[in-house]
Amino acid sequence: MDNQTELKSRSKNYLKPVIWQRNPYLLSLIIMIFLLLLIAIFQPSYLLPGNLAIKLRVWTPLILVSFGQTLVILGGGIDLSVGAMIALINVISVQVFGLVGINLQGVLIAIIAGTLVGILAGLVNGFCVSYLRLQPIVTTFATSIIWQGIALWVMKESGGNVPMEVYDIYSSNLLFLPLSLWVIIVIVGIYLLFKSTRYFMHLKASGGNISGSFETGLPVARIRMWSYAFCGLFTSLAALCIISETITGNPLAGKGYALQSISAVVIGGTSLAGGFGGPVGSIIGAIIMKLVNDVIFFLGIPVNFQKLMQGLIIVAALAFGGFFTKKGKKYED
């Protein structure tokens, strides 16, 4: 990019409202409030605390995955393998749990094993993308096929022995608030602590302008690799939540999570081109994705149409994001 085009694009950025630039999640917040109002009119009982607590338990996995996905996308990559990763972590944790035995020790070891698998899978993705310089989208697509294959290898069909107590703990309250809400509070807290760290700044920098960051002396490859590892960590937390909610091992558990999490990130105002946005918006985006599904359900649309609507919403969200955070190539420049 020569000087003139750089100036041009910079002046274009200034044309965007400042409030949008500072708070990329603002628009998604408005959409979420609008959807909640819509639900309040059609189905007031939906908003009762008891129901919301149940809903939150179902939403938490997508929220966690979207959080992790945001980090990867901020770093200029993308992770299509999160869904298959959930399946892999799911079956491995359940199998480890079955091997160690049904007791507290078993639970702890299963959690550690699941988390390690997640981080490891993330590191493999990150290594291929950043050190081997393979294209992120196709690479994570290929690894997703591999993870899914390994998951089916470990466990051919859903099953496994997870005791009811795990579900009881997951659905219990801690200090008057549901545990899943605490999970979200904790990750938002982590983000607030994490936000001003050197790593996060470097991550955004290398996502926004990779060659520039490299020339400034940032260890771009290492930064990007760890963003995938963090994504793997959050994905493994999501997988553990799914196990606690369903109390079975399921080799097809994560179906659909990859696209849904990417859409959530885009709805949350993060640019798919990297470098702009933040995880808070993605949390709201994930909630929007789930709320929209429920609204479709309330409107009484036939089952066959629901899937179609979901697909259309994903495309619409992506198109919308592409329109607002446009950073694509312009041939005229």
């Binding site: 096929i145 696209l259 066959n304 495309v315 992506l318 198109a319 041939y331």
Partner: protein, 325 residues
């Protein structure tokens, strides 16, 4: 620096005739198959292999065009489009000979529109093609489900079945169709304005735009053609199967179609390659899959191997530029 470049081009010249390499590999695989299970490489078996490879080969033809168009162009909806082609075909033909032509035309038209939408999403809305086509796949699958309503649709008419599996001079019809299709694609890529534009857009879209090539139009049309070719493949697949028995029929073509293109030496970055390599790639993959089936490796094991093959191919053909200059 200069020495390095010369060395590079020399090496590339030596290794990088993927077309020849792919044909050599396919012959080697045939020999391995014959050793693993005698009777693998008889003429009849090879014809059977080619029949199964032909559907993949046709789908991969569309994929070749899309990948050549550059800007990380890729079409992941092809599997679902193949299914939709078969389902719409079956629903319209209802085993009546006189409906075959109508079925073909409707299938081609609808899948062409699906592809145009893919193209519009990825050019005008800047959605990464892979994500755009993945979501389009969900939509297409939902539409297929909606058409069937959960019950089997009508089957292929006798004419269509004859066209696909009926033999002429001992060779089944689908292989003639594949041959005709291949010649058409190769001529279009080499000798038509569209082919020239496609190559220039894939190689350097900015330069193409500046020399007056309608970049976006070419890309959108390419997605349209890619999808339409997948739909046609689905239509012929219906002729091969006789009836559509499940909604995930074409899913097995998505990943292999990409791998076939990469094996054939078409760069994932676009702008180079051609269809002959893809043909070789499709044949290699089909033989590999047959061998894996022969030695009792299940679907998930084959998927793991295919995933690793794709990663390996990307490592050897499609690595990004170094940041250090």
């Amino acid at each position: 620096m200069i020495i390095k470049n010369i060395k590079n081009t020399f090496l590339v010249d030596k290794i990088n005739n993927p077309v020849g390499l792919a044909f050599i590999i396919s012959i080697l695989l045939l020999i391995i198959g014959q050793i693993v299970s005698p009777g693998f490489a008889t003429l009849e078996q090879i014809i059977n292999l080619l029949i199964v490879a032909s559907f993949l080969g046709i789908v991969a033809g569309g994929q070749t065009l899309v990948i050549m168009s550059g800007n990380s162009g890729i079409d992941l909806s092809v599997g679902n489009v193949v299914t939709m082609g078969a389902i719409i075909g079956g629903a319209l033909i209802k085993e009546q000979n006189e409906n075959v032509l109508l079925g073909l035309i409707v299938v081609l038209a609808i899948t062409f529109i699906v592809g145009l939408l893919n193209g519009i999403g990825s050019t005008y809305f800047n959605i990464p093609p892979l994500i755009m086509t993945l979501s389009m796949g969900i939509i297409v699958q939902a539409i297929s489900k909606f058409i069937t309503g959960g019950v089997p649709v009508g089957g292929a008419a006798p004419v269509l079945r004859n066209m696909v599996i009926g033999r002429f001079l001992g060779i089944p019809g689908i292989l003639y169709i594949w041959l005709a299709f291949s010649i058409l694609i190769i001529i279009v890529l080499r000798n038509s304005t569209y082919g020239l534009y496609l190559l220039s857009v894939g190689a350097n879209d900015k330069a193409a735009y500046l020399s007056g090539v309608p970049v976006k139009l070419i890309r959108i049309l390419t997605y349209g053609f890619g999808s339409m070719i997948a739909g046609a493949s689905g239509f012929f697949y219906l002729g091969y199967l006789g009836s559509v028995y499940n909604i995930t029929l074409g899913d097995k073509y998505t990943l292999p179609s990409i791998i076939a293109v990469v094996i054939g030496g078409t760069s994932l970055a676009g702008g180079s390659g051609g269809y002959i390599g893809t043909i070789a790639g499709a044949i290699v993959l089909q033989i590999l899959e047959s061998i894996l089936i022969t030695i009792n490796i299940e679907q998930f094991g084959r998927n793991i191997i295919f995933g690793l093959v794709l990663l390996g191919l990307m490592f050897s053909y499609a690595r990004g530029k170094r940041l250090r200059v």
